[in-house]
């Protein structure tokens, strides 16, 4: 039963996901609509609650056992509590029951997001520019003809991705576009078709119960 029931659920839900794309009959479409708009939404809400619960439990456990970097768990739990209270009770833009402004100082959810999350996220991603520069300098070597070809293509596309390519008075920008449209598209299509066939094969194996590793065990 422990194996049969999950396999049956996967078979039924897998078929329910595929069939509406091929059968336009109103009863099938209605069932599909019901599953998507009601069932799936309810399941996803449970998943959110489960995820939230798991996150809180994991961090409380981390603090209790004093695991590595346990102090940051306080930051996470504190931020979670503050944003949840402000978001739920303060409303969007401070229109809820909880006051989210003291004089000119606003701390509604949109203000917090725009002034904390956005700069923090941007900063983290901006670090990539520095690491990528350093990595390109250390790793990009013209070992052979293929590497040289890659280097030249990369330079042309890099120049094509900024206005400088056109400002240089050359056809670099056009060549960059050509690289993206012709050789890149040709190779990507081959890869995409291969991946799609692989996904179909794997999905069928899972739906039909041939592939059972996801159940755990051997």
């Amino acid at each position: 039963m422990k194996r049969t029931l999950p396999l049956a659920i996967v078979l039924v839900t897998g078929l329910l996901g595929v069939v509406p794309f091929f059968v336009p009959h109103p009863s099938v479409q209605l069932a599909d609509e019901l599953i998507r708009n009601k069932l799936l939404r309810i399941i996803s809400m449970f998943a959110l609650i489960l995820g939230l619960g798991s996150l809180i439990r994991h961090n409380i456990e981390k603090i209790r056992r004093r695991r590595e970097y346990w102090q940051y768990s306080y930051v996470l739990l504190g931020s979670l509590l503050v944003t949840a209270v402000i978001g739920v009770a303060g409303g969007i833009g401070g229109t809820g029951r909880l006051p989210t402004a003291i004089g000119g100082f606003r701390f509604d959810i949109q203000t917090l997001y725009a002034n904390i999350i956005v700069p923090l996220g941007g900063t983290m991603f901006a670090l990539l520019a520095f690491y990528m520069s350093s990595a390109a300098y250390r790793a990009f070597r013209v070992h052979n003809f293929t590497a040289a070809l890659l280097l030249v293509s990369a330079f042309v596309v890099m120049l094509a991705m900024v206005p400088l390519g056109k400002s240089l008075g050359t056809r670099l920008s056009d060549i960059g576009q050509w690289i993206l449209i012709v050789p890149n598209t040709a190779s990507k299509r081959g890869i995409m078709i291969g991946v799609a066939l692989g996904v179909i094969a794997t999905s069928l194996k899972i739906i039909l119960g041939v592939e059972r590793k996801w159940l755990g065990g051997d």
Binding site: F21, Q29, E33, R36, N37, L40, R41, S44, L48, G91, I92, T95, I109, Q110, Y113, A114, I117, V118, P119, L120, G121, G122, M124, F125, A129, F130, M132, S133, S134, A136, Y137, R138, F140, R141, V142, L151, F155, M158, L159, M161, V162, P163, L164, K166, S167, S173, Q177, L180, I181, N184, T185, K188, R189, M192
Partner: protein, 289 residues
């Protein structure tokens, strides 16, 4: 240490310092580049322009987060300027919760710009009449497929908690059939989901605004016509800003254009580092041989 070794062992702190300089200085002293418009951007501009303003709506799916905000946020702003300038009504939604705050920021900014210039209620951009912010419904497959049968069923309430049945625009916008174009501005694969699920099943036209790093992955979809147009990275956003300003005489801050000088300088700096390292590498190889 010889010159070859010096070329091969530049301290990474020096690299970081140079990159910081080439990013910051052009922001203060921009190069004043012109932004020639590339075909993918022109295609998207034409596709938005071709939406019949009183018949169909433009839908913008803000599927990005703060990490990709510098590249993608100017696209959303430019698209909104274009739509409002041509009196095209707009629906905005997000497939991820992170996109909500950014979409709200873009709407607030552009609506304030237009309403600041408006001389009559007809010129003003009014919520519910000219645009609706639908918000977010997890998981992404629900809004992507659900909007094919009923948008109001997927979003019974908008982002601000209004009943969508009460909004004039939503009374005229039932399904994908009422959308002239859907543009997914995304740092991930969201535009492909719209192609795979919404376009294949309901025939919606899809446009994409993507990060520069994903350009190679998305070009095949543009070539097949599955994307009606594409904004590729910050340059694509700058090109769209240029088109909106030049063709529609709509002003406003052009953040993508402001970033072009820094991006150009950074690309040149990275190329210079790679060239220097390879000169050192080839010289050492020749010496050993």
């Amino acid at each position: 240490m010889g010159w070859i070794e010096r070329l091969l062992t530049i301290d990474r702190r020096i690299i970081f310092a140079i990159i910081a300089l080439v990013l910051i200085l052009p922001m203060i002293f921009p190069f004043g580049f012109r932004t020639p418009v590339t075909p993918p951007t022109q295609k998207l501009f034409d596709a938005v322009d071709a939406i019949p303003p009183r018949d169909k709506v433009l839908t913008i799916s803000a599927d990005y987060d703060p990490q990709t905000e510098p590249e993608l946020h100017p696209m959303t702003i430019a698209l909104l300027r274009h739509a409002f300038a041509t009196h095209t009504r707009v629906l905005v939604l997000a497939l991820y919760v992170q996109g909500l705050g950014l979409a709200e920021d873009a709407l607030t900014t552009v609506v304030a710009e237009f309403n600041g210039r408006a001389t009559s209620p007809q010129d003003s951009i009014v919520y519910g009449r000219d645009y609706v912010f639908l918000g977010w419904q997890p998981p992404p497959i629900i809004p992507i497929l659900g909007m094919g049968t009923s948008i109001r069923q997927v979003f019974p309430r908008d982002y601000y908690g209004n009943d969508t049945d009460t909004l004039p625009l939503m009374k005229e916008t039932e399904t994908y059939n009422d959308m002239g174009l859907l543009v997914s501005v995304s740092g991930g694969s969201a535009p492909l989901w719209y192609v795979a699920y919404a376009q294949s099943r309901y025939g919606i036209r899809v446009g994409a605004g993507i990060t520069a790093v994903s350009v190679a992955d998305f070009f095949p979809y543009l070539e097949t016509g599955q994307f009606s147009g594409m904004l590729a990275g910050m340059k694509g956003a700058a090109e769209y800003e240029e088109l909106v300003e030049r063709s529609l005489a709509v002003g406003g801050r052009r953040k993508a254009m402001e970033g072009m000088s820094s991006q150009s300088a950074a690309h040149i700096a990275i190329m210079a580092f790679v060239v220097l390292a390879n000169i050192g590498y080839l010289a050492r190889r020749r010496r050993k041989a």
